[in-house]
Each structure stands twice: as C-alpha cells, then as structure tokens.
C-alpha cells in the first residue's frame, strides 16, 4: 500500500468513528427534546425519549476518534459527563448505548445510569462520570493496578477544560508522575465550562502548561484535525506504554449547549458560526474527497445511519427495567436490608 493509500485508509477509519459519533449525538439530541420546561424553552406535549441531562459532544468527535484509534481493547478509559464519543470510539455497541440513553433494560448499564454514566467495562470503558475531574484519580489507580500486574496496557483519561481547575487534576497528575504510571491524560478543551468561557476562569496557560510544571510531557493539538490528533496520540501513547504519563491538550469546540435542551444563547453567534466553519467532520470529509474517496465517505455515512437506525429501533422496542432491579447491584453485604 502506497503512502497516500495508507493515509487515505487510516483517514477513512477515523472518519467512520466520527460519523458514528455524530449520528449518535444527533439522534440522541432529537430524542431528548420535549417533556419539561427548561432553559427558557416551553414544555411540549410529547415527552422526551432520552430524559434528563444529555451532554452532547457534537463538534468534538475528532478528539475521541483520533485518541481511541491508538488504543487497544485491553487499554482502559475514563470519561466525562460528555462521554458518548469516547464510549463509541473505545468499541462499545451503539445499540446497547442507545438503549441505555432510553433507560431500557437492554442498555449497557441496564437502564441504571443513562447518558451521564454510560459505560462498557467489556471494552475497557470504565464510565462516564457526573462529577467534573472525577475520572482522573480513578484513571491513576487503574494505571497503578495495570503496572503492578505487568504488561503494557495503558489508561486514557479524558476530561474537559473545566476540570483543570479542580483539585483532582493536580493530585492526579502529580500522582501519575510520582509513580511513573501509564496514563495518557487528554484535556478535551471545548473552551466552555458549562456555560462560562473557560479562559475567564482559568489562570495561566492552561492544561499543557500545568502538566509541564510537573515535568509531564505535554502537547497542544488542533482537536478538530483528526489526523493531527491521531499522530500526536500515537507518539505519546508509544511513550506512555513504556511507563510514563503524558498530556494531550486537544483544542476543539462544543457546537451545542451544555445540555441538549440548552440553546446556548449566552454565546457569541459569530464565534459559533466560525466554529461551524471548522467542523471536524466537514474537514475530514473534504480531505477524503481530495483523495478521491467520495464514494467511500458516502458509504461510511450510509453505514453509520443504518447502524443508528437499528439502534433507535431497538431502543424504542426495548422494555423498561423491572421495578425489582432498583434493589439489585446495591451491594452484597446485608442484601435485602434496605431500611
């Protein structure tokens, strides 16, 4: 395979992951509308099918795709409240994920977690998390266990730009460096923490600079350029596998509001319009077209849509969890003693 063909085939694989994430996020967003009155929007007569807080990673797909393309199934991953992309990219099944968002018994968490706690331990995805920065200490401990066991598996630890202002960011980075742990920290910087621009709340030069202050190798990358993310992650992960942490600071943009029903009216419309011009999917697609891969890109889109339609149909048809399941998997000790 020539150099161009190799690049093109790698790019198609990355595009496939991104297209699957985009299809999933768009469908989840649509299914989340309605129900209650929130964020200045009126309630509708039809209840939402995906209920509760739904944090979309639309516009950030290149980060998940580029990093996870360099992970193995045996590697572990911790995620954030905005974790659908990481979960799909790590290899989770889209149907089981959509069933979980619908709260159905066939969801990957049996309907107990929903979007905010989506997880698939079977592919090493140790969970999205409702608490900002909470995945960081967990990632360091998982890496310590992997190191104790031997082998070269690593942990990829995703967090947002808001997380770097929480204590566990400092504690976790220090910890990983002190014990020389195989963790790739990925700061997925969408430039907004909930509804506040992060730069207004962050002193200094950001995630990479803070990592360098602890002598952790760090690199900034255009998080909307999936090839750049892929290459940077490949380089860093090779070193992480040899037993030392690194931090990748991927700068991207969140197309949607904090949650799916948040229209994001607090943002400068020009900024949003500029960001839309830099859509990572559109960029990747344009590159594929320039490689003469238009038909292949079409096929990827069609496959993603087919997979998504199957996931939605399955979720619509799936039963709710049995009420009795509310009392299962609480704990083993004293089972049955609820009061």
């Amino acid at each position: 395979m020539g150099k161009q063909a190799g690049r093109s085939s790698r790019l198609l694989a990355l595009y496939r992951t991104m297209a699957r994430i985009r299809a999933f996020e768009d469908a989840a967003e649509a299914a989340s509308q309605g129900g209650v009155q929130v964020w200045g929007m009126e309630a509708s007569a039809t209840p939402a099918k995906v209920r509760g807080p739904l944090h979309l990673s639309t516009g950030q797909e290149a980060v998940a795709a580029g990093v996870c393309a360099n992970l193995r199934r045996s590697d572990l991953l911790t995620s954030t409240h905005r974790g659908h992309g990481h979960t799909l990219a790590k290899g989770a099944d889209m149907t089981r994920m959509m069933c979980e968002l619908y709260g159905r018994a066939s969801g990957c968490n049996g309907g107990k977690g929903g979007s905010m706690h989506i997880a698939d331990f079977g592919v090493g995805m140790l969970g999205a998390n409702g608490v900002v920065a909470a995945g960081i200490p967990i990632a360091t401990g998982a890496a310590q266990a992997l190191k104790l066991r031997g082998g070269d598996a690593i942990v990829a630890c995703f967090f947002g730009d808001g997380a770097i202002n929480r204590g566990p960011f400092l504690e976790g980075l220090n910890w990983a460096q002190v014990y020389a742990l195989p963790v790739l920290f990925v700061c997925e910087d969408n430039r907004i923490a909930a509804t506040t621009p992060t730069r207004t709340m962050t002193a200094g030069e950001g995630a990479a600079a803070r990592a360098r202050a602890l002598a952790i190798e760090a690199q900034e990358v255009d998080g909307n350029d999936v090839e750049a993310v892929d290459h940077a992650a490949a380089d860093m992960i090779a070193r992480v596998r040899s037993g030392r942490p690194a931090l990748l600071h991927a700068i991207t943009y969140r197309f949607k509001g904090h949650v799916s029903v948040d229209p994001g009216a607090y943002r400068d419309p020009d900024e949003v319009a500029r960001a839309r011009q830099d859509d990572p999917l559109a960029r990747t697609r344009a590159l594929l077209l320039s490689f003469g891969e238009a038909a292949a890109a079409e096929a990827v889109d069609a496959d993603a849509q087919r997979e998504l339609n199957e996931a939605l149909a399955a979720a619509e048809a799936a039963p709710w969890p049995e009420r009795e399941a509310a009392f299962e998997d609480v704990m083993s000790t004293g089972t049955g003693q609820w009061r």
């Binding site: 572990l76 911790t78 969801g107 990957c108 968490n109 049996g110 309907g111 107990k112 977690g113 706690h117 997880a119 698939d120 331990f121 079977g122 140790l126 969970g127 998390n129 409702g130 608490v131 909470a134 960081i136 200490p137 967990i138 990632a139 360091t140 401990g141 998982a142 890496a143 310590q144 266990a145 992997l146 104790l148 066991r149 942990v155 204590g167 566990p168 504690e171 976790g172 220090n174 910890w175 002190v178 299962e328 998997d329 609480v330 704990m331 083993s332 000790t333 004293g334 003693q337």
Partner: protein, 331 residues
C-alpha cells in the same frame, strides 16, 4: 483451632491485613506514611522473632504504597485499582481528612456498581479513624459514622476490641463491597486476646453483657464506657444488657430487637453528635417495631474544643451513661 495471642487493637489490624496480603496478592494498601508502619503503627505485624515490623518490609513498596498528601487521589486511585482487579485498603489517617476524598468515596466507590448496572465491583476498605483523641480539637476528633450509614452502597464498621479489629477487618476485605472501616484513635493501644482464625461476620452484633432491665446499644470506644456504667448499675441492682453493634450497616436488627423485647427499654449511647446520629435510627427502628421506650445519648452539637474543660463536654463517658440509665429507670 484457637490461636489466641495477646496484641493491641492497632497490631490486630496489621496482622489481619498481613494475613490477607499473604493469601491474596490482589490486596494492596495505600496512604500517607504506610512505609514506616502507619502513624499509629497500624500497618505493622509481628515477625517470628517477636519484633514488630512495617508491612512494607514484607510486601514491598508496590503493595504497601506510601502516598502524597492527596486524600482525593488516594481514595480515587483505590476506586480505579479496584476496578482493575485489586483489593485496596485505603488509609485516611483520621476521618476528618477523609472529607477531602468524599466525592471519591460517596459518588464514585459507593455508586459504581449500581450506576454502571453491575458491570464492576469496588472492593475497597477505607480505614478512616474516628473519635476523640485527647487535646486534638475540632479537626482531628470527629465521629462521622452516621454520614456513611446514610449512603447506599457502603458497609460501615466500627470495631471496639482487638479481636473485632482483627476479625472485622478480615471480613471487610472479603466482602467485596466498599467499606467505611472506622477504627477509634483512642483504642490503638488497647490490648486484648485475639483468636486470629475466629471469624467475625459483618452485620452481627455482640451481646457483651447480658441483663434484664435495660438494653444499652453502643459501638466503638463507647462500648468500654458502657461496660463501666453497666458495672456501676449492677452495684445498684440494675442489670443492663450491653450490645456492641460492631457493624452500623448492615446493622443487626434481630439481636437488638430481641433484647429490647425482653428488657422493654432501649438506650443508645455513642460518641458522635446525638443530633441525626445513628442512635436515632436504632431508637426509631425499635420504637416502630416494639413500641418500648427509647432514649439516645450522644455528644452535644458542638465542635470538640481543645482545653480539657471544653473537650470533656463532648465526651460521652461512663458517668453520663450511668446517669442517663438511672434517669431512664427513674432511680
């Protein structure tokens, strides 16, 4: 086969941990100052030559892990270790410091199994010593066991004797759930006979002293104050049944209710603040189930003061327990 040896409450825990580490290489310990045996000497074991040595000498620094002062990361790393197949024992030094790691214990460890639909388990034991510790003032003296009893997913253990600190730590390590393991700082030096193979199940109270007139439920260090008070009342012709609850969650309703059905009076005594303490839960449960008179005795809702005259106000000692029982029985 009984293998009874005399040892302190601190060493009993160290011996239990060492035994578990020898049997199961997945058991690890992490916390500040563990390498030199823990600040209270509770990470030491006695060798064949009779000398006490830090566990790290036997198990190495990769399994008995000295950590930075990073309570959130200590607790959070333990969650990650557990998810990746280890059985971590976490040392928080005093429970007051554990408050820096509450997200990791309450939101992460306790919820993990449930919210991820049973995909994982978090078998971690968080040792978070409670209790008054002479002249240690407001931030090194708290008894927060009720907080953890309130959190679904957690086991809560409060050992009162060297035997129980050995047996309950062994049981906690084997149970597979996240455990809030709350030793008492003023019990570290307490010596007692320990039958090391003797199993001490979680969720099983111990009737320490039988009696017919009143049931006194207690745990942790207050057990010893309660026994002194019961002895005093015995001299006044009152027979008190003293129950050491040992495990707050799950708690042994059967034993407590059986005793109260017999005595028709319940007093719960604990060192924690009385308001919203776990004593209220037991008193309410007994009142609902049996309808007998119930009373609580705990600390006033004040922080612990430094000066002896202030600190003593927060102590639930034998005299106060005896007085509460006399008042209850109107004698």
């Amino acid at each position: 086969m009984a293998l009874t040896r005399r040892m302190s409450y601190a060493v009993a825990a160290g011996e239990a941990l060492a035994a578990a580490m020898r049997l199961d290489e997945r058991v690890v310990a992490l916390g500040e100052d563990l390498g030199r045996g823990g600040v209270f000497g509770q990470y030491r074991t006695r060798g064949a030559d009779g000398a006490l040595r830090p566990l790290q000498q036997e198990f190495g620094a990769a399994r008995v892990i000295d950590t930075p002062i990073s309570e959130a990361n200590i607790m959070g790393a333990a969650v990650g270790m557990a998810l990746a197949g280890l059985k971590p024992v976490v040392e928080m030094r005093v429970i007051d410091f554990a408050l820096c790691g509450m997200d990791e214990l309450v939101n992460q460890a306790a919820k993990n199994r449930y919210m991820f639909g049973g995909q994982g388990r978090v078998p971690l034991v968080a040792r978070m010593p409670i209790g008054l510790w002479t002249a240690s003032a407001a931030q090194h003296s708290q008894s927060l066991e009720a907080w953890f009893a309130h959190v679904p997913g957690l086991v809560v253990v409060c050992p009162a004797t060297p035997q129980d600190n050995h047996g309950l730590l062994t049981a906690a390590l084997a149970c597979g759930d996240p455990v809030a393991y709350l030793e008492h700082k003023e019990l570290w030096g307490l010596e007692g006979d320990v039958d090391t193979p003797l199993p001490v199940p979680l969720g099983k109270a111990r009737v320490v002293r039988p009696g017919r007139d009143l049931t006194l439920v207690t745990w942790s260090r207050t057990l010893h104050e309660s026994l002194t008070a019961a002895e005093t009342l015995a001299g006044e012709g009152i027979e008190v049944e003293v129950i050491d609850l040992r495990t707050l969650w799950p708690w042994d309703r059967e034993t407590v209710l059986a005793s109260c059905a017999k005595t028709q009076r319940l007093l719960v005594a604990h060192e924690a603040v009385q308001v919203a303490g776990f004593g209220a839960e037991i008193a309410a449960s007994v009142a609902e189930a049996i309808g007998c008179p119930v009373k609580r005795l705990g600390a006033p809702r004040i922080p612990v003061g430094y000066a002896p005259t202030l600190e003593s106000q927060a102590r639930v000692g034998a005299d106060r327990i005896a007085a509460a029982m006399r008042a209850f029985l109107q004698r």
